[in-house]
Structures are given as C-alpha cells and as structure tokens.
Amino acid sequence: MRRASASVGRIVLHALVVLAALGVLLPLYVMIVTSLKSMDEIRSGALFALPQAPSLAAWKDAWSHACTGLACDGLHAGFANSLWIAVPSTLVAVALGALNGYVLALWRPRGSNLLFGLLMIGAFIPVQVMMYPLVRALGAVGLVGSLPGIVVVHVIFSMPLMTLLFRNYYAALPVELFNAARIDGAGFWTTWTLVLLPMSAPMLAVAAIMQVTGVWNDYLLGLVFAGHELAPMTVQLNNLINTTTGTRNYGVDMAATLLTSLVPLLVYFASGRWFVRGITAGALRG
C-alpha cells in the first residue's frame, strides 16, 4: 500500500520535472526551428512545428548580410569584436582578481576590509550612476571607442566578483600553508606564483568562465564604451532585431540570436558544474 502510493508520488514528481524541463527548453527549441525555416513558413503560424524544408539560409544571412545599424554585412564583425574584447578582459580581470583575493585574504594590510566593503557595495550600484564620469575620464585619455578602453571598463566592473571569488577561495585554504611558505622564506610574489596559483586552477577556471560569459553577454558597456567599430555582438544583435526599416525576418533574427548566444551556451554546457560553482561561490558568501 505504502509502496504503491510512494511510486505514484514518484511518477508525479518525474512528470513535473519533465514538464518543467520542456518548458524551460521551449524557447531554445523555437529559436532553432525558426532559424531553419523560410519566411513563408514562419508566417503560417506554426511556431512550434518542425521546419518542412530545413535551410541554413537565415544563418548565412545573419552571419554575413543582415543589417546591424547602418552596415548590412551581418554579425561576423561583432563576433570578432566580442572575441577581441572578451579575451583580454578575461585575462586581465582574472589575474587582478586572483592577486586582490590573495592580498585581501592572506596579507590584509590596514584598510583592506574597508576597501573590500567599498568594492562589494560598488557591485550593487547600477552602471548608469558611474557611466558619464567614466566616459569623460576615458575620453580625456582618448580611450573611448578603443579596445584598451572597453577592456579597462570591463575590468573595472568585474573587479568585485573576481576579487570575491578568489578572496573566498584563498580564505578557505588553511592559513598554515601560507605560514609554511613564509617560514620557507618565500616572499610576497613567490608565495603567490609558486605556492598559491598552482593550487588555484579550479578557481581560475571558474572565474574565467564567469568572466567570458559576463563580458560576452554585456550590452550596456559595449554600447557606450566600445564605439561603432568595436561594437560587440550583443549590440549588433539588438540593432538587427530592432531595426525599424524593412520587413522583419524572424528566421534571421533567431539565427542571429543563436549565433550571439553560441559562445556562452557552449561554455556553459561544456563546463556546467563549474559555472554553477561560480555563481554560488560568488553569491552565497558575498
């Protein structure tokens, strides 16, 4: 009797889970099938139907012909821009975050708690509050619309999360390890590079994953600081889907959306557990 009711409960549970998963997956499915359909088929109102004659035409359009603002040569330039922005932004931000975390967790010079508190509050301030002064400051040194400019801005706004990740990671290590290195005669830099960094591989990966997806998915900073030439993929995508001229081709829109989401989704599905670790480590102890 008890066994029977328990198994009914389990069937209901599994049904609920499957239903929820399908619901969450639905938009991804719609994106994929729409991107493979012709415009005529899209207009027939069969949003959820599989494509009758799957074609990659919309993908080609999105990549090399679609209008993203004034130019009509697709998203490929934006893809390259996003890549150029994401790589240095990630390298610099992760390295600085690891260094900050090391100092704040283990050396703790006077005032470092205050600095860390300020940094954490900074993480909650809407970007718009700080934006105009940063535009002016970067403009004064000629960095607006340049690669170093947008990288600096990304590093600035990712500093709280990167620092927090590594501070918590290093603070959770036994402090005796740090003390042992000091007794062994290792100084500030040797302790970091020879003892701690080799142990930080998991957190380096987590931080890099968080930063690559974060930078890739950014829209606002790219819009304001990258300028036209360097506009990242998200900015181009938004221009593409919200152009008011001409008829909209939802197939191209969805192909472009998928193309823009490709890198973060690949990173996510290839590294799922670490991505989860990144958001929970960043969130729960912050």
């Binding site: 900050n100 809407p126 890739w216 829209y219 919200n242 939802y250 990173v267 996510y268």
Partner: protein, 289 residues
C-alpha cells in the same frame, strides 16, 4: 610589519577602481545632479531643482511605477519557480545533473538574446497568438507585448525564465548544506516529505533566500537590456524603466543634470534596499565575534 610594501602595491589597481572608478564617479554624478548641466557638465548650481523636475516628470514617475510592479512580480515569480525547481532537482531522480543544467542554461544567455527570443514568441502576428488561432480558436488573444496594460508581464515572463534557474542554483547550494541526518531522522519519525521541506529544510535556507533576494533586487533596479531588446520602452511609454530614462536623457536628450538626478535616486534606492541586509550581516558578524 605583517603586510609588506609589495602587498600594498598589489592593491593599487583595485584601490583605484574602488576609489576613482566607483566612489569618484558616483560623487561626480551626485555633483552634476545639483547643477544645470545639459550636454556638458556645468558648474551652475541649481540646488535640488533637477530632483524637483525629475519628480514632476511623467515619464520618470511612470518608470518608477513600472519598476515597482515589475519588481514585485519578477521576484515573486523567480523565488516561486526557483524553489519548485530546486526541490524537484533535490529529490533523488534520474539525470538530476542534466536537469539542473537544463534549468540553468537561460542564465548563460544575454538579456538581449532573451529579449529577442521572447519578443518573437510573444509577437501577436506570428507567435503564440497565431498558434492558438491556427488551432481553431479564432478568438484566442495573446497580445500582451503590444498591450500597454500587460506589456510589463511579458518582460516578467522573459526575465523570470532567465533568472529562475539562478535562484534554483543558489537554493540547491543551500540545500546541500542541510545535514542529511535530518532527513533520516525525519523518516524514522514518519514525517511526510512535504512537511520536512516546509518545517525543517526551508527554514534553514534563510541565508540562501536572502542572498537570492538581494541579487534579484539589484537585478530589478539594473533592468535595462531586456527592455531595450523586447519593447524599447513601448508600446508608447508603457514599459519605461528608470535606467532607460537615465540613458535616454544622457544621450538622446542631452540633459546631464536630470539624468544624474535620476541616477542618484536609483543609487539611493539600491542602498536603501541593501541596508537591511548589510545591517543583518554586520549584526551576525558582531554576534559571532
């Protein structure tokens, strides 16, 4: 003696970030909000005049209303969906690793992409409404995205779709900290599963819920990309939000003073929302020490 000069030097970039990047630019914005700055900063002091103008601006007041309504709906939806997903994944079911990954994938996408796909699904001509009508329900209506009274709901749906998995992940992390012996003890005592969740497990997740709440709250205040991608504030001004108001006045309308005043109001809102959590944390830290 403990901290060497190298340690202090290593903190220079982060100190510059916090002091100049965050504090300095915030103060500059605060200063501009009490001036008559238009396209360029001006030193013409006008006191609280920009704030007075701000709060007699229909669009600003509407965007604040929108933010409040959006915030309540979005946070409720995320917490509810996130809890349900977390409990579902927490049960011993097949392929839970895969399920967790499926529930969280929207969070790996950008708001622009999220906005794009939902704009397509919800558009009345070819989206869900068309599907309903093609099925024979000729009176089927689902045109919220062009309905000024319902457009905010569509933004709630899209962003909650994206963020629910995030809430789930945080709650799952909290659940993994619950002593498994509690489950064994409850089974021996014959307590039904739902009761274990409501009386034993969920009360222990206070910290995880608070964390999720803080992050969702700041997400609400920062809401911008999704609105731009989905509705651009429309139809009309029906889905305007404060961040968009500030951006429009910074760029399109070249009214630095008013935009700065709006930014400072937003900042004060964030700090006010954050204050109880910071207070609780310092209290907790003090009671441990």
């Amino acid at each position: 003696m403990r901290a060497t000069w190298a340690a202090r030097a290593a903190l220079v970039p982060v100190a510059l970030t916090a002091l100049l990047g965050y504090l300095g630019s915030t103060l500059w914005t605060a200063q501009m909000s009490v001036t008559a700055s238009r396209t360029l900063p001006s030193d013409h002091f006008v006191g609280m005049a920009q704030y007075v103008r701000l709060f007699s601006n229909e669009r600003w007041l509407l965007s604040l209303d929108n933010l409040l309504l959006y915030g309540v709906l979005f946070i409720s939806a995320c917490l509810l969906a996130g809890s349900v997903l977390a409990i579902l994944v927490d049960r011993e079911i097949a392929a839970r690793g895969w399920l967790r990954q499926i529930f969280l994938y929207p969070y790996a996408m950008s708001f622009i992409a999220t906005g794009a796909v939902w704009q397509w699904i919800l558009n009345p001509t070819d989206g869900i409404q068309a599907v309903g009508r093609a099925l024979g329900f000729s009176a089927f209506r689902f045109d919220w995205i062009v309905d000024p009274d319902r457009v905010l709901l569509t933004i709630v749906i899209a962003t909650a779709w994206q963020a629910s998995g995030f809430v789930m992940a945080i709650l799952l992390a909290g659940l993994s900290g619950v002593d498994p012996d509690l489950w064994r003890a409850a089974r021996i005592d014959g307590i039904p599963t739902w009761r274990v969740y409501t009386s034993i497990v969920l009360p222990q997740l206070g910290y995880a819920f608070a964390t999720a709440l803080v992050l969702l709250l700041t997400g609400v205040v920062k809401l911008y990309d999704a609105v731009v991608a989905m509705t651009q504030g429309g139809p009309g001004t029906a889905s305007e939000v404060p961040t968009k108001f500030i951006m429009d006045h910074l760029y399109g309308r070249a009214n630095l003073g008013l935009a700065s005043a709006g930014a400072i109001v937003l900042l004060v809102t964030v700090l006010a929302l954050l204050a109880p959590f910071l207070y609780a944390r310092t209290r907790a830290a003090a009671s441990i020490a």
